[in-house]
Amino acid sequence: MQALVIVAHGSHLNPESSAPTYAHADTIRESGAFDEVREAFWKEEPSFRDALRTVESEAVFVVPLFISEGYFTEEVIPRELRLDDWEPELWDSDGTSASQATLYAEDVDKTIHYCGPVGTHDAMSDVIVKRAETVTGDPDVGEGFGLAVVGHGTERNENSAKAIEYHADRIRATGRFDEVKALYMDEEPEVDDVTDYFESEDVVVVPLFVADGYHTQEDIPEDMGLTDDYREGWDTPAEVDGHRIWYAGAVGTEEFMADVILERAAEAGADVRDALEKVREATGGVPASGD
């Protein structure tokens, strides 16, 4: 028996914060890839602390629905799951290359395959592009368009920006968009000045966030000048300083994210081959880059 536990942040205040986690878990449940699929949250229940005891399988694949490696993936999640032998070196990561580490959780007597976060998986670049296709309604979007990948950014953790940069570089290298930039909320270059960074008239803005909430639905649209008051909404595309801004909302709500979660588990040794096909059909996904 094998179980999948998707660990995410959740919220005490915003009921929508956990919605993508549940949605992707449901997609994977329906694929039948795992005997058990559970969600666990830092701010909701089941808590990280109690999550592993809610599955009966001896092998558990834990996939963090987080954007970057850092405080949560390296410290909070392993500590709360009681992965006593964990140390970040086990991932042997440069900040974006964590794959998995096999550990033992004593309180539940189970083997835990602790995977890298979904946000740094290569397939995430495809999700960002898919998001651009969805928001423009054009499956071939790229030529004549700029793409802004937006991250939270923080001075406290360099990996936070690395994840954003990583995907921006990967997408730029495909040559699909005329320009690709990594922008941030809390550090330079800032998303507030999005139009300063693009020559293209049309710019797709994709926030690399797990869920839609305060930042993606209030802060960023107002900061970019899409609207004066988020409660009044905004146009897509919206005219800002002579550019058309196509704002996509949180990338984590894209259905194809379920594929990325499965890819993470598959890399850690989960037997999910048949399910990957099913989930790709259900989410309209494409095989991950490099397949």
Partner: protein
């Protein structure tokens, strides 16, 4: 044929014969074995031996309840030693009552148990399969026609997300689950899934408590484990932890029974509550609130001077009380005899607050 008519499905009998080839079956009063000269079938008050397989099938069909009971627990439920199995056995008090008594009860009115605000009913389905029904305890007497029927355990995830005023419920075990719905004909697996959505991990921690292996993390240990913005909570004074539990961890606020103390040898005075399932450590909501209280407790006390009439002082007390107990909505619009009545509060504000919202015009900082 005979087997099916008598309430035993052919595959259930085949499963029994297969099991007996591995060794004698002994379960809940049923014994079936094979000896050199044929099968042996035994239930209380009945012992048959030297049976051919055809004879065994007839005897099994005539005593179908014992066989279907074995089949349900062994083949359908399985999971020896798991929380799931322990919980399902507890639901029908399987270790205390005979198969006959349980089948009679399940057939008559079902066996009922409360789990937080949920009412779980076990009913007998065809050929011994159990079927489970879930509804709110407040709807225990409700006519099913008056309830919204749902099919999917997952529907409960959405139903339990908001209270009856549409507000988000961040604490799943808050006693504010909406009523007016039911799920019926659930399999044992679906029941477990549904409970996991409404009250996550409660079955597992209850099971551990049952087994004597509940791992309780007390306040000090939990607080000291925190890092990042929660690192400060271990500085909250001992006395304030008492107030935390009084504020958040009592039956009126949470259905879990608090098992954690300040420390293993240092118990809190606040009663742990009467909930069915245990709380094994301060939850994230309590830790987040404690962070705020830790910061607030760092402030030094100071003396303010206010001019209030005795009734105005009592009114302030009544307002705090009403808000703390969540009673503001119950206070009638025109009931000016209630201190927390909105008009009374507005009058007090008009009279005693200055233009900056300061009580009696007294500055907070000088």
């Amino acid at each position: 044929m005979a087997a099916t008519e008598a309430g035993l499905a052919p595959d259930q009998f085949e499963d029994l014969v297969d099991a007996v080839t591995e060794g004698p079956v002994e379960f809940d009063g049923l014994t079936v074995g094979y000896e050199d000269d044929g099968y042996v079938f035994e239930v209380p008050d009945l012992h048959r031996e030297h049976l051919s397989v055809e004879e065994l099938e007839r005897v099994a069909a005539a005593n179908a309840e014992w066989v279907t009971n074995w089949h349900f627990w062994t083949v359908v439920v399985g999971g020896e030693g798991t929380a799931r199995r322990d919980f399902l056995r507890w639901l029908e008090a399987a270790d205390e009552h005979t198969v006959q008594a349980r089948y009679d009860a399940m057939e008559a009115d079902g066996i009922h148990h409360e789990w937080g605000e949920l009412l779980v009913t076990v009913e007998l389905g065809e050929v011994g399969y159990r079927r489970y029904e879930l509804r709110h305890v407040d709807d225990s007497e409700a006519d099913p026609a008056d309830l919204t029927v749902h099919d999917e355990p997952r529907d409960l995830r959405d139903l339990s997300k908001y209270d009856d005023r549409g507000r988000y419920r961040p604490l799943k075990t808050a006693p504010s689950l909406v009523d007016g719905w039911m799920l019926r004909d659930l399999t044992s697996g679906e029941l477990k899934e549904a409970l996991g959505f409404v009250y996550p991990a409660t079955v597992e921690n209850w099971h551990r408590e049952h087994e004597g292996t509940l791992d309780v993390s007390h306040w000090r240990e939990t607080a000291e484990r925190q890092t990042g913005i929660y690192d400060v909570v271990d500085e909250l004074p001992r006395e304030a932890v008492e107030w935390v539990t009084e504020a958040a961890c009592v039956d009126s606020q949470c259905l879990k029974r608090r098992e954690w103390q300040y420390d293993e040898d240092d118990h809190l005075d606040t009663p742990g509550g009467d909930g069915t399932f245990p709380c094994r450590e301060p939850c994230s909501l309590v830790v987040a609130a404690a962070r705020k209280w830790t910061k607030l407790e760092e402030e030094a006390e100071r003396t303010y001077e206010f001019e209030l009439t005795p009734s105005e002082k009592e009114q302030l007390e009544a307002i705090v009380d009403a808000v703390a107990d969540g009673r503001t909505d119950e206070i009638r619009e025109a009931d000016v005899y209630e201190g927390a009545n909105r008009y009374r509060a507005r009058y007090l504000r008009a009279k005693r607050f200055d233009e900056d919202g300061r009580l009696c015009g007294v500055p907070t900082e000088e």
